[in-house]
Symmetry: C2
């Protein structure tokens, strides 16, 4: 048993002190992936002490909802696990001038305290702000009543394999818990908006030949030589940049693995080129596949090799290996437009497209537009010297309060 | 200890009976590679009983020489090991009509006994003829005095890795034992001449790139895509057929292996294409390498990657992996011309080029022209139903006696 303290909020303290205190408390509870239990326990207990919240738990994922009878609902989600610690636990507040403060942070935030340690940016700073909002947006006064109902999701196992992901699990087990018109995941973005994401498919493109001894090569058919056509098509392909809802999504088509041959003196009878297509959210999975192999090739995960009937690899063998749909940024809705405008006013930043596949796509698959928006510098995530300046907490809280209330 | 009988020759029997008896005796002595000792022992003892021979042994290789004071010397060589047995040891004489006789052999040799079992064609039939010649060409009468001195080599470990090869070892340890103007290896050729051999070099052609996450492919450089140029050059290459000393050598240039990539979502930073060039004996090793990578690329076995300065793969990285020189057929010398004429008269067959690398190339490297010429069908070598019709022995003996005496 880890001996943890209950998470508390001092009602007499200033807002900034409350935010810093919440962050300190949750960073002091060790929560590397697979060890989220104690932090999930204290998070659940803290939320249950707020009478305006309905709190539910699945595994180490805690879901808390308001029920103010609003027409719309917004989901605020944050993972509570961290990557493994590297001598950066427990956390420490660094006073101005401390040599552990990174130069870039010291320059941007002189005379400011910095919280150093595992999880500072990825993503306990955002978690602390969400806990603050969960406790204080209680519907008791106009200043503490949001324009929308809110669902807070604190989930486990984001930093490891997708099959362990707590958000995925709660969505599958309790889809009714995760409903709303818009979602924010508090991944570090320096309070900018990063929206949607490219989809990705991976498949083998296969050539076949006839084996023979390489001293009698004319008795065989060289499958590796045939793969020249595959690589030539990859080189001829011009990846597009596609604008979706105002964001630019850069596509990519790449061989990531190649293998072929049975021995140094054997004409190879098979060659496999593993191809990864990253496609913009203007395309469905089916559309992306059609562009690669034709609409009716019939290649599906686990059903073996099929001949591409069209697309880039027409005529070659195709074996599907992996697929994940794209997610539109969902910035067209009025709620989202308000957020974009607020972020532009306060930070001068335009929304950016997310390139890799992230948890926002899970919401997108549920039909819930979602973006990443969180405190802290994303470049410090997973770093040994992960740290966040104290004012990042209030910057995020200000932004969300201005949007929500 | 294997309990073997001494090899004997009945002076009262007919020549054909003597040949059949010798083959039976040596096939009854198990001699799969690594177990040649007993057969080497009996071969050595048999040869030592011939007073006109000087017999020497290195490992399980036995070398026996005449010293008739002739101006020229011919080497007759045969390996005594076999590939592993597959229910085809000990050997059996099959009478005409026996269902174990292959149809093709029964058709070509009706009413003839067939010796069935491991080593029948590869190559104890030829070994038996050589033992017969070693015992009977004794220099005592004009009919038993060859026009040349003879050196008989019975060697071990031909059917396994080259580093174990007994012919290679005796050539390295005792170069003075293996001298002559011409050599015949009795590999099965149906008594045809197969001469010289292509050389072979193997090398990796390497491309380099820059690794990156495949969601941000433009941050990297795809080494597999770059390999398109290597495969295109292979496809553009037109392998030649080169006539050397009247024989046609068909060349070949092939990728036999390809590999590249570090993970399904990583832009690959290296791709290796393993290439095998089989070149005709009009080219030295250096000339063959120059055609692939330029004369001054500097790539040698074990010295890592160099840039090809010319040739087919100019501009790519090259790492040498293996090299073996070609061997000219050496059919220009009068001795060889006599043999070619005799084979043509008796079998109607013209000499053929050897395509793979064989032990004749070892003699070629010593400056001794060499060909394969032996009893039995080469297509039956290593087969479960390996067998040889009795008359193949006298056909080979007739041919060699007509040439030598």
């Amino acid at each position: 048993m880890t001996n943890t303290q209950p998470i508390t909020l001092n009602p007499a303290a200033s807002r900034d002190a409350q935010l810093a205190d919440l962050l300190t408390q949750i960073m002091e509870i060790f929560s590397v992936s697979d060890a989220e239990g104690p932090l999930a326990d204290e998070t659940e207990a803290f939320l249950k002490r707020q009478p305006h919240l309905t709190v539910r738990r699945h595994g180490d994922t805690v879901v808390a909802s308001t029920d103010f009878g609003k027409a719309s609902r917004v989901i605020l989600a944050g993972h509570i696990d961290t990557v493994p610690v590297i001598d950066n636990f427990p956390p420490r507040w660094l006073e101005p001038g401390d040599p552990l403060i990174r130069e870039d942070i010291a320059e941007a935030h002189p005379d400011e305290r910095v919280l150093w340690g595992r999880g500072a940016t990825d993503m306990k700073a955002s978690d602390a702000v969400m806990l603050y909002l969960a406790a204080t947006l209680d519907g008791r006064t106009p200043q503490t009543t949001p324009k929308v109902d809110l669902t807070y999701v604190f989930y486990d196992h984001e930093e490891v394999a997708a099959e362990k992901n707590g958000l995925r699990k709660v969505v599958e087990a309790h889809p009714d818990w995760i409903q709303g018109e818009f979602a924010i995941i508090g991944e570090p973005t320096n309070c900018g908006i990063e929206g949607g994401c490219n989809g990705t498919i991976r498949f083998d493109v296969v050539t076949h030949g006839v084996a023979a001894h390489s001293a009698r090569a004319w008795m065989g058919e060289n499958a590796i030589h045939k793969a020249a056509g595959i690589l030539n098509r990859l080189n001829d392909y011009q990846p597009a940049t596609v604008n979706v809802d105002g964001l630019d999504y850069r596509e990519g088509l790449n061989a990531t693995l190649i293998s072929g041959g049975k021995g140094t003196n054997v004409i190879p009878d098979e060659c496999r080129v593993h191809v990864n297509y990253r496609f913009a959210p203007d395309k469905s999975l089916a559309e992306a596949k059609a562009l690669m192999m034709g609409a009716d090739a019939g290649a599906e995960l686990g059903n073996g090799e099929h001949v591409a009937t069209g697309g880039v690899f027409e005529g070659y063998g195709i074996e599907m290996k992996d697929e994940s749909p794209s997610a539109r940024p969902g910035l067209a809705a009025p709620l989202a437009q308000d957020l974009v405008r607020l972020v532009r006013e306060r930070t001068g930043r335009e929304p950016l497209a997310k390139l890799g596949w992230t948890d926002v796509a899970r919401f997108s698959q549920l039909g819930i537009p979602a973006v990443n928006l969180g405190a802290g510098d994303p470049l410090l995530a997973h770093k040994h010297d992960e740290q966040v300046p104290e004012s990042d907490l209030s910057a995020l809280a200000d932004l969300l309060l201005a949007w929500l209330v």
